[in-house]
């Protein structure tokens, strides 16, 4: 476990020393969402209907943008080789990196959701369900994203490739993440959708580090 906290501390410290990077992700999230009223028109009813879905799609894209930070810099300057050589399991090291990635992108996104909720006229009764769904769903994005980012290391046009690999895998999170707030609006139970999201989270928690670690070892060969 020591490698988990060591990597987590290192990545958080790096993120704190150049906070512009994670702020940029949040900035993208907010600015992209404010584009929507220009596209579909500013009527509150229209916006309220699509608000939850929009927040999720923007969160997916924002998470995608931040994925190249996950391993790329370490791969380029050689620290990845040292991380792979360090004692402790690579899978646990990956979990540490994923946790740091979530704390620096997923969590800021969730914190800025209430602001978007105001902008997009999200129905108030949907907000708790949306926040809960994002709390369960954004870690899955970081976990699956780690697999895509690790696989695309050293590839030509790595960034575009990562999106092609990862977006299809994000779809279940999007489906159930949107279903939860919509159920809340329709006065139905949001709990089943949240439980499925929790299932996705635990599944990804167990399987993704394994695949990402295999991809990292391959990249370092």
């Amino acid at each position: 476990m020591s490698i988990f906290f060591a990597v987590l501390r290192r990545d958080l410290m790096l993120a704190l020393r150049s906070p512009a990077e994670s702020l940029m992700t949040v900035g993208f999230f907010v600015i992209a969402a404010t584009l929507v009223p220009f596209g579909v028109g500013p009527e509150p009813e229209t916006l309220a209907r699509i608000a939850a879905g929009l927040v999720w799609v923007m969160a997916l894209l924002a998470a995608l943008l931040s994925l190249d930070r996950l391993f790329q810099a370490d791969y380029e300057d050689g620290s990845l080789d040292l991380l792979l050589l360090s004692p402790g399991q690579t899978e646990i090291m990956v979990l540490g990196k994923v946790a740091a990635h979530w704390l620096t992108t997923g969590l800021p996104l969730i914190i800025s959701v209430p602001l978007l909720a105001v902008f997009l006229h999200l129905p108030l009764e949907a907000l708790p369900a949306l926040l809960a769904a994002m709390l369960l769903g954004t870690p899955v994005l970081s976990l699956l994203g780690a697999v895509g980012a690790a696989l695309a290391l050293g590839a030509r046009r790595g960034g575009a490739l990562t999106s092609l690999l990862v977006l299809p895998l994000f779809i279940p999170v999007l489906i159930f993440g949107v279903a939860a707030p919509e159920a809340a609006v329709a006065d139905l139970a949001a709990r089943p959708h949240l439980l499925i999201l929790a299932g996705l989270f635990f599944g990804a928690l167990v399987l993704s580090p394994w695949a990402a670690a295999a991809a990292l070892r391959l990249a370092a060969e």
Partner: protein
């Protein structure tokens, strides 16, 4: 039990594949001709759907092939990752475009069938969406495989991706049972199919024809891959032996 290692030698595989290939071509031609005859002429139109039911004889086998190709791709990838076996890599590499084409065929015929039956080319129904995701997975697999300068690296990376994406296969298979959607549930099940023999015969014939076609193209592509690998190493050797080339990267 058959010792798989016997067939795992690329040279022996090439020999066997060379002998099987003409038979596979013949079987494809005969089965396809028979299947198309039954599907287009010798089977009755559906009492509700009319003549458009004939799309089924392409759509359903294509869907089965799309799913089974991905399953096979995942198995080959697992074998390639665990045992680092050359032929497993070759199978995976040769198969992915075929599977992607079957998936595309399934989506296109389904869409053409949807227009007269459901009144729309596309609905965001669970099965349609998950087959579309399967198509994207194939595309991602192919893109990742060709994104590296070193082909071996691309193969290994895409093998990991194939295993990750395999999670989607059971979701597609059971999507129509889990969610109550527009796409009908499976009619062919263990314990007796729910369609008449006059329609089952062309369906089975077409499925066998697709299988034979799959084997034919797979053998062809695998032999091409093996030859391409040999060519590549021969070129590398020739380049290394060429004394007029500057000695870059050579041990002193």
């Amino acid at each position: 039990m058959i010792d798989l290692a016997t067939f795992a030698n690329p040279a022996r595989f090439s020999r066997i594949a060379g002998r099987v290939f003409p038979w596979a071509v013949g079987a494809t031609a005969v089965l396809m001709a028979a299947g198309l005859y039954f599907a287009l002429f010798a089977s009755p139109p559906d009492y509700q759907q009319g003549e458009s039911v004939r799309i089924m004889y392409v759509h359903v086998p294509a869907a089965w092939m799309a799913l089974s190709s991905y399953t096979l791709l995942a198995v080959a990838s697992a074998v390639a990752l665990v045992w680092r076996h050359l032929l497993a890599d070759v199978v995976a590499r040769a198969m992915a475009p075929i599977g992607a084409c079957f998936t595309f065929l399934c989506l296109v015929t389904g869409s053409l069938w949807g227009k007269p039956m459901w009144g729309t080319f596309w609905v965001w129904d669970a099965r349609l969406t998950s087959v579309l995701v399967l198509f994207f997975l194939y595309l991602g697999y192919l893109a990742l495989q060709n994104a590296f300068d070193d082909p071996a690296r691309g193969l290994r990376a895409s093998a990991i991706l194939a295993l990750v994406g395999f999670v989607n296969v059971p979701i597609i298979k059971f999507s129509v049972d889990w969610w109550n959607t527009l796409h009908q549930p499976a009619s062919i099940k263990l314990g007796g199919p729910a369609i008449d023999a006059s329609m089952l015969v062309p369906l089975i014939l077409m499925t066998l024809a697709f299988e034979a076609y799959f084997v034919t193209v797979l053998l062809l592509r695998m032999r091409t891959e093996l030859v391409r690998g040999k060519l590549r190493s021969a070129r590398l050797r020739a380049a290394e032996a060429d004394e007029y080339l500057p000695n870059i990267g050579k041990p002193a």
